[in-house]
Symmetry: C2
Subunit: 455 residues, 2 copies
Amino acid sequence: MSEVLARIDKDLPEAIDRLMGLLRIPSISTDPAWKADCAKAADWLVADLNSIGFKAESRPTPGHPMVVAHGGEGERHILFYGHYDVQPVDPLHLWNRDPFDPAIESTARGDVIRGRGASDDKGQLMTFIEACRAWIQVNGKLPCRITLFLEGEEESGSPSLIPFMKENAAELTSDIALICDTSMVSPGVPSIAGQLRGMLKDEFTLHGPKIDLHSGHYGGPGLNPLREISKIIASFHDDTGRVAVEGFYDGVHEVPAELKRQWEASGFDEADYLNSVGYTKSHGEAGYSCLEQQWARPTLEINGLWGGYQGAGSKTVLPAEAHCKITCRLVGDMDPDDLRVKLRKHVEDRLPIDARVTWDSNLEGSPAAVMNTSRAEFEQARIALSEEWNREAVIVGMGGSIPIAGFFKTVLGMDAMLIGFANDDDAIHSPNEKYDVQSFHKGIRSWARILDRIA
Amino acid sequence: MSEVLARIDKDLPEAIDRLMGLLRIPSISTDPAWKADCAKAADWLVADLNSIGFKAESRPTPGHPMVVAHGGEGERHILFYGHYDVQPVDPLHLWNRDPFDPAIESTARGDVIRGRGASDDKGQLMTFIEACRAWIQVNGKLPCRITLFLEGEEESGSPSLIPFMKENAAELTSDIALICDTSMVSPGVPSIAGQLRGMLKDEFTLHGPKIDLHSGHYGGPGLNPLREISKIIASFHDDTGRVAVEGFYDGVHEVPAELKRQWEASGFDEADYLNSVGYTKSHGEAGYSCLEQQWARPTLEINGLWGGYQGAGSKTVLPAEAHCKITCRLVGDMDPDDLRVKLRKHVEDRLPIDARVTWDSNLEGSPAAVMNTSRAEFEQARIALSEEWNREAVIVGMGGSIPIAGFFKTVLGMDAMLIGFANDDDAIHSPNEKYDVQSFHKGIRSWARILDRIA
């Protein structure tokens, strides 16, 4: 083991160079304009994996390709999942550099790798690949049979994922799935995800007059879609921050007292978590701690809102349309399909005369996921992580949604274990995304230790 | 007179060709990207006016140039005002043709000239120039001294207008100002504006977190500027459609019963006015007629609203900022400067902890204007219009804002008379703007008749 760790330390500069190469490919999956770059990122991974002895392929899908690679031998079969696609980069003017021209930057908290995807998820998935590389270089082979399964549609709802998993079930099914797409509860505190929130995405357009109208001619008698959509959005929450959509909380359960105690002892620094982004307090649902609001309570958030004139100067218009993008984070047994009906009813019940709404039909949902933390691998990983980080590893909740964790269970009957090395200040999905060099380095070392224990 | 009218009829095809030439110049004044085209439109007008005997010049300003032209002789001095700049064209995909490739189109309501600026205000200002052209061609000279004053910043708040009027007061001051930038109360009903609403423009950005946040990490505890700006916009009006900003109605007066009777008899077709744009009812302030809501009641409208992700697909972000463009229409003695303070206070009083607001400091306001309809020219114009249109001309209110009317009074001490030939379905400020060929043709004839009577 110590040889593998030494090899990882020695090889770190080259490992960072490799990651830079992957980060330079603008593999934004949600916008069709970047389709070719997604394929390019897949090909880059295939070439790198083949170079260290995996049998890797880029497999076509109706959307972006899946990378599937097989290596090692034996009864024991472990699958690793990550995604090579990234979020859009706008607003571009808030970046301190070209998002796809990554670089090492020194910060008060140490050196970081700056660039879109550095943390989510290219940097994280490379921690596992680099661990495999070192293992093979030192031992000549992998500790067990390992399959890598790298997706290119995670940031755009994974439309091809379930069909691909079903078609390739025999090849992908293994003893357990390892996923590296999560963060540490606090810097330096190794964390294993015990539960994840689900997600419901929806989008609507509120239509008013047939055409954009002059606010001098129709301002007064005219219905203004921007005012109407604002009223509807304002109606989504009550004054306590609780979602006001009827039946929204069906299937939501309170956090057991024991788990709440574990979370409170997990080292989560609420003040730092809030202050680092400019908040002096938690703005969520009254009666719940910041951690519960983030990990165990559902949300209804507006992610995009637009209509009318946005250019320089002024335009005296009542626009014909207003648009709104919504995501809900789901917990417990909330059913995304049922919730979509309730959400849409809430909006449609509030439409005034002469307004109508149309819904985007291409947006998906996924339920919350609770991990099977009683499996031996969780305790083995906890020990390995505690050794690497000289700090007791913790099993925490996660506010994000990683539908794949649930799909491994529902589609392939496999449990999943999510371990990630990101930090809350990585600005994933935001301008100036970064990944700490420490996360990358100790992340690689952590996977090597975990493989050693669970192989 | 009959010779002049015959000449106008005979010359109509050439007059339309000339208008097309002006419409092909994309003189959008609010967006700096089109600055050169605004200058080009001014030069086009200078060349055309010089060709018929005016002494015309394009005069530089800190913004877009002013066109000033002098013609004719005598004691009697009339000034004509129009503007050669146009509104932006977005949303471009809703146009049935290139906005700056104008054409004659046949419609159920007769032939129209389709293109940005066809009605507002290039088509309207050319009705007066064509009337002058015919008059000169028939009589060898103009009926009196005429000064044309054509602005290029009307659609962007006229920043250079007042300084220019002050610097050139001696040259511009005349007996009365004629303005052609208004519409007819109903198709075929010649209309003179008795009053116009004023305007207050403002724009703010609501700032929340320091950076865009991941809705998985911060959805729940995080303050979302899109939700907060929606709450603020929803708070601008009460359930009866009345503006809820404290003190908003200071200086607003009820319409005298006699004037209300005149308006109701003016031929305004409420059902057609509403149905033509897709409304089945009037959505304005309860307790007021559609005409009052449009002509005599103040408004607070949202003209632009945006924040977060607007691209294809979805982005799970809590954005750092949300933006809002506002215009208020003012009536009676409402003071734009005082109202701006009240409007901003309303917003700032509703900001939650951890949110702040910044205001655009470059947006102007102008009070409402009431015309001096007792002047002889109003009766002379009423008779001339009634003769041309075979329908009693009416003195009406106008929902739009034409600050110049007030400025002629406050800066130069002149009364103004606003007569226009646009129709409510001209879609000015909207996709597929048009000007009826009948408006253009009878508009030219109307000005010839009016000049004959008031010269």
